[in-house]
């Protein structure tokens, strides 16, 4: 059997879900016996590869780069899993949504109103991704196969999902394993 190709992606989130992934500790050694991690913020790969079996996506879709990445992930992955509350619900990343023209407002607030010096919202169109006015959960922009909520999902919950995946089964999480927050 060909080894499973696993990827993890970090969109608009705090990286806490990836920290929780690293909390799998020695089980990570077992995981790499069973699967190749082909793309991840903890690897040095620059391009999201073709033919990925399973991708865990942390974070909401908050800017144009996130949106582009989400679409690339969907096109190149057989199974996409919303990984953590920001991907599943928008969570803290989406807290600016009730503010009208939120992208402009949060930049002004952070880089002008609260700045001590060199006041001015950053604008580097080709370098810095443009913020979207509305932050969306992942399934609002691409079809998602499974959901792994939690802020962050605990290492045992991630393990339960991944164990099912590497065994070729559906990751069915039950009870408190699917709690938000």
């Amino acid at each position: 059997m060909e080894r499973l190709k696993l990827a993890t992606v970090w969109l608009a989130g705090c990286s806490g879900c990836h920290m929780s992934f690293l909390d799998l500790d020695e089980w990570l050694l077992e995981l790499v016996q069973l699967a190749d991690v082909v793309y991840s913020p903890v690897l040095d790969t620059k391009e999201f590869p073709e033919g990925v079996d399973v991708t865990l996506v942390e974070g909401a879709v908050a800017n144009e780069d996130n949106l582009h990445m989400a679409r690339t992930v969907r096109a190149r992955s057989k199974v996409v899993i919303s990984f953590g509350d920001c991907a599943v619900t928008g969570n803290v990343s989406a807290m600016r949504n009730p503010i009208p023209s939120s992208a402009k407002k949060v930049l002004e607030r952070s880089y002008v109103e609260l700045a001590d010096e060199r006041k001015g919202a950053p604008s580097e169109p080709e370098i810095l991704p443009i913020l979207l006015d509305r932050v969306d959960p992942l399934h609002a922009v691409i079809p998602v196969d499974y959901f792994l909520p939690g802020c962050p999902p605990s290492a045992p919950h991630i393990r339960a999902a991944l164990e099912a995946i590497v065994a070729g089964k559906k990751p069915v999480l039950e009870g408190r394993q699917i709690k938000f927050g």
């Binding site: 009730p98 503010i99 959960p137 709690k179 938000f180």
Partner: protein, 238 residues
């Protein structure tokens, strides 16, 4: 006291004639989910989670607000009811800004627990992201409308147990809000006795004691039950 005999999930149950389906079911060990219902407060049938099927009619009944009848055959759990309840929960999450991770009630929240109980792993509906206020003008308590599900437990606890009727509801549908007095800041309320019963009654993080940070707030709901028992049964022991 007349006794009615009915069937709940295939189980033969005897209930007092003034009992609701929800009370009869709970006494028979069947826990029908509900968010607006609290023991001791008048049921209002606001949350619709307790909808049950009744043999012989297609219309679903709110178990908290429907009295038992002789020979009733009730089903409290079916794939259809489960799907409706899950849908109701998703709509509640989509209607306001419920962000469990940064909520005072995280891990002590009946809405969060209800989502777990129904296996709600995401919300299929579009979030509304309404712009809502937080009123912390009261010196001890606060109300965060982002977390309110309009169950009206606060309104009923304040009116029926405390007798102050500080809380009420203004507006309709998606514009409905719980308000204090004539929709003035809670801190300016003349009627509020600062008793804290609304804090105990609230199922989510909407009404909170100030100074509680994320996930710190716990409630003691037995306080409401104690007062109702004391009043109705003259039992002052806990």
């Amino acid at each position: 006291m007349a006794i009615k005999t009915l069937t709940i999930d295939g189980q033969l149950v005897s209930a007092r004639e003034e009992d609701t389906i929800l009370v009869a079911a709970r006494e028979a060990g069947v826990n029908i989910p509900a968010l607006c219902y609290v023991d001791g407060l008048t049921p209002v049938g606001a949350c619709r989670l307790c909808l049950v099927e009744q043999q012989g009619t297609n219309r679903l009944q709110a178990a908290c607000a429907t009295k038992v009848q002789e020979g009733m055959e009730i089903v409290t759990n079916s794939p259809r009811l489960h799907e409706y309840r899950k849908m109701i929960l998703e709509l509640l999450f989509a209607e306001r800004n419920h962000i469990c991770a940064v909520c005072v009630a995280n891990n002590h929240c009946e809405l969060q627990d209800m989502a777990v109980r129904h296996g709600m792993d995401h919300v299929r509906f579009e979030y509304l992201y309404p712009q809502l206020s937080v009123d912390v003008s009261h010196e001890q308590f606060g109300i965060d409308h982002n977390r309110c599900i309009l169950c009206t437990r606060c309104v009923r606890a304040c009116h029926e147990i405390e007798g102050a009727h500080t809380w009420d509801v203004s507006g309709r549908g998606v514009r409905a809000r719980v308000i204090t007095d004539m929709n003035q800041p809670w801190g300016d309320s003349d009627t509020c006795t600062s008793c804290g019963k609304c804090v105990q009654a609230c199922p989510t993080g909407a009404i909170f004691r100030q100074g509680s940070t994320v996930a710190e707030m716990e409630r003691d709901r037995s306080m409401l039950q104690f007062l109702v028992n004391a009043r109705e049964k003259k039992q002052w022991n806990v």
